[in-house]
Subunit: 342 residues, 2 copies
């Protein structure tokens, strides 16, 4: 199945590049509200499901035992910029579990922004694993491993109890069966299981509403949702879609990006979850797709509209800052959404 072109990149009066994609909007009962492209193909969710991967930490009582606060729980769900505030918070999460940077198995990564990289360079440092955009998630995995007892070493391996717990949660929320043949290794070395977008959308509808979950898991989902919308800076950082949109929406939506053009959202007031993938893995395509879905599905106040407008139609600029094109949803995308959403 050929997924449709959902986003165009223009220059002057011509379209310069195109992003195809697929998406699913599903309610907590699993009913599809809208599907564009192939919503049944298996897609690696990558970092878009970090909030779901954090459920065992909270549900088990480990988060409470370790005294993780909202900012730290948000960091557990984050793909952060590696700013000092993010790296320091990951360090504190590890200290609370009696562990350190050396226990992480995610590998090092330069901070996303040059100004944060410069802070390291100026003091002759190189980035460590705390700067990895996944360090909060990994600190949370280690915290859970510590509270569960047994070895913390090897917590990234599919057979480790932490990854087995997460797999069980993902199977419940997606309704999918996760087997080794659909398992890849994420950039931070943990297993990532490919499921249909439809299944991830359902999982986020459930995450945002708690519908059908046993009380402990529903309460863990609510705790993590609240942590992220209360501390959106910890979920990403300066200049980032997830941070800016969650700041403006003040609890109305949860949004989370993943590598290779995946984007997921939970919209509790509608009872919907959203999952989408830009075919080519492009972040700019996925961001315009998600912003367009949010814009078309929700009545927006001024702050929300301002935050979404920036993401629906970002400019293409020269290195002197002149606007010479833009990134925008295609007319077909808008028509398809209108048809599906009414």
């Amino acid at each position: 199945m050929d997924n449709p072109v959902l986003v165009n990149v223009t220059r002057g009066s011509l379209t310069e590049s195109r992003h195809r994609g697929s998406l699913a909007v599903v309610d907590s009962a699993g009913k599809t509200v809208c599907a564009l492209g192939d919503a049944d193909a298996r897609v690696f969710p990558r970092s878009a499901i970090k909030a779901l991967q954090a459920l065992p930490l909270v549900e088990s009582g480990a988060a409470e035992a370790l005294d993780y606060d909202d900012a730290e729980l948000a960091l557990a769900c984050a793909s952060h910029n590696g700013e000092a505030i993010h790296a320091n918070s990951a360090r504190v999460m590890l200290i609370k579990a009696g562990l350190s940077e050396a226990d992480l198995e995610c590998g090092p990564q330069w901070p996303q922004r040059m100004e944060d990289a410069a802070e390291l360079i100026k003091v002759d440092e190189v980035p460590c694993q705390l700067h990895n955009n996944c360090s909060g998630k990994h600190a949370a995995f280690l915290g859970l491993a510590k509270i569960m007892g047994g070895a913390t070493k090897g917590y990234v391996n599919p057979e480790h109890p932490v990854q087995q717990e997460i797999k069980a949660v993902m199977e419940q929320l997606t309704g999918d069966t996760l087997t080794s043949d659909i398992c890849g290794t994420d950039g931070c070395s943990i297993p990532t299981y490919a499921s249909p977008l439809r299944s991830f959308a359902k999982a986020f509808a459930v995450f945002g509403t708690g519908d059908g979950l046993e009380p402990g898991r529903a309460s863990a989902a609510e705790r993590l949702y609240e942590a992220c919308v209360n501390e959106p800076y910890m979920v990403a950082g300066a200049g980032r879609f997830c941070t800016e949109v969650m700041e403006a929406f003040r609890g109305r939506v949860f949004v989370k990006t993943g590598a290779e053009g995946v984007f997921c959202a939970a919209i509790p007031e509608l009872g919907y979850g959203v999952a989408l993938k830009c075919d080519d893995g492009g972040t700019r395509g996925a961001e315009v797709m998600m912003a367009t879905v949010l814009e078309r599905m929700l009545e927006l106040n001024e702050d929300e509209a301002k935050a979404i407008d920036r993401q629906v139609n970002p400019p293409v600029k020269t290195r002197r800052g002149a606007i010479v094109g833009d990134i925008r949803p295609t007319a077909d995308f808008l028509t398809a959404l209108k048809t599906a959403l009414g």
Copy 2:
């Protein structure tokens, strides 16, 4: 027309992302040897045609008058990393024309690689226009403007004599008529005219052979071709496709990347030019496409095969360096090339 999927990105045993594209291989008489996807759609060539944009500099005698050497001519055709050697060479080109960094109109840009950015940060500097990947091209434009007489200021504007000269050359080599409605502004502020891939492929066949050109222009093309293949480090820099492939091929091919997934090549021994575009603008897709075309069109020696193998099938790695997938040409792409090229 839907362009075919030419490149897959895998993770574990699944395809994670896909790159569609179109390409044309054309001889210097304009006969199409191979066309995949829509080779007639207009595409902005961006930086892939810098070597053609440098023709007026050499043909006019300006390059000789300014005493530009091979390295400087290669830099005029470059999208370089902004390493010290590139920035310094651009500075010398300007000095030779009695000009300075302040005369550039390309805007500043951070060096491509963190280690080069770090050299600036350590001495409390920010990048200047010399670090812009296009600084050599802009220095060459200024050099030509100076020798032509008249104003150097505004040399990036479509109506400036330098840009008019370049437009005339592009019209001859592509056989296309370039009008304002197909003109966009490039990231470095100069005009970029969209033509079909078929036309750019023909232009590079002519560039590599000189076929059909008046002697002065043919000799300018030969001079620029030789400069780039003699000084491939100046065309891009450390770790870059254009540099590594031209180093290994020792004059057999000229290759040049452009923004938004454009890639062009000249293969004089076959009399062919190549132009391709990755639909979504992805560099990784365009690189695998170009490497695949070169691999299938030429008998390769050991060094050439080694350089191409790295580009045809690059690994996808975790942040700890483990290989967990790869980028590769699709089976359909290989079949189509085999059918077209025999």
